[in-house]
């Protein structure tokens, strides 16, 4: 039965699912990368994803328009990001703990609204697959890479865009300066608070988008705790990827491929304990943190409050 795994159509299936499932991780962890590079650790990503997933699903369910759902999901995420920025920048609250508060709020609130407004698990027709002309006709590669819905393409496009912003623009320079040495950035006239508000709000918007990519593009359902901790993995992926979009891309693909493999093992009914396969990415992440963290420059002011005149 294990030989079934090596049949051509299964391998193509695993690769295709792997690409698809990387989508929510990519949106959420690239958003988190911006926040962390500017010095804010947002642990509430999972709660923001849940709220985005619910909002996107609810609007799509009632209007039949996934674009409108997507827009609302992004707005809800951005609003929660703005709240997190207010808590961590203006109120200077301990970020690790307030993030847990934001998570619990999103977890409870999305469940509450789901039970009150939908009641049962419904399905929507979200974003349909969009075959890219010509490219999707290429055998194998066409199926694996060019027959996805638009949010999948968007997630992969976000990687070079984020790379460009962070490495080739003044904004990117400001974000990194604020994260590495807020006092110096402040002395040079960069508003630490404004940059952090911007990055954390952006991170929230992308977390909302990540949630919507699950509820109206990949799964087309919403249920209680839909993300089951994906947002926490997204936070870890930022460390795993060494605060670079390309590193985050690698990490997202690793997690999503293992998820895809495990899905197919279950579909084919292969009697191997897939729990260990699911466990592997977490073990790998810990190992990566042990061996990578010391080589890579963590933003020096990550999760530290900036007090003017105390640098």
């Amino acid at each position: 039965m294990i030989a079934d795994l090596f049949a051509a159509n299964v391998i193509i299936g695993i690769l295709t699912s792997g690409i698809r499932l990387a989508t929510p991780y990519l949106y959420a962890s690239i958003g988190e990368t911006f926040g962390q590079l500017s010095g804010v650790l947002n642990l509430g990503v999972d709660g923001m994803m849940l709220m985005g997933a619910y909002a996107g699903f609810y609007v799509t369910f009632h209007t039949g328009n996934p674009w409108l759902g997507l827009l609302v999901a992004i707005l809800v995420g951005a609003l929660m990001g703005l709240a997190m920025a207010f808590i961590s920048v203006t109120l200077k609250a301990e970020q690790g703990i307030s993030g847990i508060g934001v998570y619990l709020f999103g977890l409870g609130m999305s469940d509450l609204l789901f039970q009150k407004t939908l009641g049962t698990v419904e399905t929507v027709s979200g974003f349909a697959p969009l075959n890219i002309p010509l490219l999707s006709d290429i055998p194998v590669l066409g199926t694996v890479f060019f027959s996805h819905n638009i949010l999948v393409y968007g997630a992969f496009l976000l990687v070079p865009v984020a790379w460009f912003i962070l490495n080739k623009t003044t904004l990117g320079l400001k974000i990194k300066a604020v994260g590495q040495n807020p006092a110096a950035a402040d002395a040079l006239g960069v508003s630490v608070a404004r940059v952090r508000y911007a990055t954390v709000t952006l991170g929230g918007a992308l977390a909302g988008l990540a949630g919507a990519s699950l509820s109206i593009a990949l799964l087309n359902v919403f249920q209680q705790n839909l993300t089951s901790g994906m947002g926490f993995i997204a936070v870890a992926l930022v460390y795993f990827g060494g605060w670079t979009p390309t590193g985050v891309l690698l990490g997202s693909l690793l997690f999503s491929s293992v998820n895809a493999l495990q899905l197919w093992v279950q579909i084919l009914g292969i009697p191997i304990p897939s729990d260990f396969a699911v466990m592997m990415p977490y073990v790998l992440t810990i190992l990566a943190l042990i061996f990578a963290v010391r080589k890579v420059n963590q933003p020096a002011s990550l999760s530290k409050v900036f007090e003017r005149g105390e640098g």
């Binding site: 109120l91 703990i97 307030s98 619990l104 609130m109 901790g229 304990p273």
Partner: protein
């Protein structure tokens, strides 16, 4: 000149912060209830009635508070030691798993031997789970928030593997239903009931543990050092304290107490281990709610006792509220999140107050030491 005794402003803000935070959360909750078309007074009355209305509901409240107190007491040690333990969920799970393995293995043992062994193994399993994160923090500088989150997921997969294979209930396999749960433990593993309700001995154990944590933190050198490391690692290092070791120890103790909580939960309430595929199925988010209770109790283990009771009451009462006003009990999870946010956000005012008091004290000291001639 007689040194004038200055009356210090009473720090009323300090202890009242959690209550103000909870009040703010409940006021916001009332607005949410209104928006959902429910009468807030009726809803909160149902909540209180559900939590305290009868002997049975009070017992349920206390039983629900128990894992929160185990986790919360551990959180006090970790946070006071300057390490953030988000791994309560995983530590509860491995503690319960260790106790489960013992209860299913030593089926012929009498209660007086079996129960202590189960509890001890749960304690140790949690300690190992916490210590791994602590070790990596201390010697490899790996962020403990991330490792504890990863260890949560690893614990869940370990549980799913064990419950759907090696220790699955043989009846499930015979019937072909394959529900991932173990057989019921031998009766000797049941924690004794205190009164004819669901109240079990683990409740008392949790209170004793909280008191012991207070003794540890404020009455022993070890605890003093843990707190010193948490207050200022640099100063602690200058004073000759090995900062790394104490950070690791704080995580180890924190994990051990959560592990013990998991063992108590499975021996006192469930009498078998089960999973719905996630940690929440077994823990009901006690690993997170324990953090809420500890923060509410001002990271003081004795404060965590009533705080756990309060949050246990909210969780139990939420079910009644759901029945009476048709508002899902998930509202309470959202309100818990708000309480955390408000408590940590209000730190800013406490810091300002502390700074003002410090300034006052310094001015006082300056006046006291000033030459007498300038005072007239």
């Amino acid at each position: 000149m007689e040194p004038k005794k200055r009356i210090r402003p009473i720090n009323w803000l300090g202890p009242s912060i959690p209550f103000l935070a909870a009040l703010a959360a409940f006021v916001l909750g009332a607005f949410m209830l209104l928006l959902l078309g429910a009468n807030p007074i009726e809803a909160y009355a149902a909540l209180i009635d559900g939590a305290f209305g009868s002997m049975n509901s009070i017992a349920d409240t206390v039983v629900k508070a128990t894992p929160l107190l185990f986790v919360g007491a551990g959180i006090c040690v970790a946070f006071r030691g300057g390490v953030i333990n988000i791994g309560g969920e995983g530590q509860l799970v491995v503690g319960a798993l260790a106790a489960t393995l013992a209860a299913l293995t030593f089926t012929t043992w009498p209660a007086w031997a079996l129960i202590p062994v189960c509890l001890l193994l749960g304690f140790l399993a949690g300690a190992v789970w916490g210590a791994i994160a602590g070790f990596l923090k201390a010697y490899y500088n790996v962020n403990e928030i991330l490792t504890t989150i990863m260890m949560n997921q690893i614990a869940v997969q370990l549980m799913n593997y064990l419950l759907s294979g090696p220790i699955m209930d043989p009846v499930q396999i015979e019937n072909g239903s394959f529900i991932p749960q173990t057989a019921r433990f031998p009766a000797a593993a049941d924690l004794p009931r205190l009164v004819p309700t669901r109240l079990h001995l683990g409740v008392l154990l949790a209170v004793v543990v909280a008191i012991l944590v207070w003794v540890l933190l404020w009455r022993t050198t070890l605890g003093y050092r843990i707190r010193a490391v948490g207050l200022s690692p640099a100063a602690a290092r200058r004073a000759g304290i090995r900062v790394e070791q104490y950070a690791m120890l704080a995580l180890l103790i924190s994990g051990a107490l959560a592990g013990l909580g998991g063992a108590v939960q499975v021996l006192g309430v469930n009498h078998r281990m089960f999973t719905d595929g996630s940690a929440t199925g077994f823990t009901s988010s006690a690993g997170f709610n324990g953090i809420v209770a500890a923060l509410f109790g001002q990271l003081h283990p004795l404060g965590a006792i009533p705080a756990s009771g309060l949050f246990g009451a909210m969780l139990v009462g939420a079910n009644k509220m759901q029945r009476v006003v048709q508002v899902p009990s998930a509202l309470i999870t959202a309100l818990n999140g708000l309480v955390v946010i408000f408590v940590v956000s209000s730190e800013i005012w406490r810091r300002q107050l502390a700074r003002r008091q410090e300034m006052g004290a310094m001015r006082e000291a300056a006046l006291a030491t000033a030459p007498a001639g300038e005072m007239t």
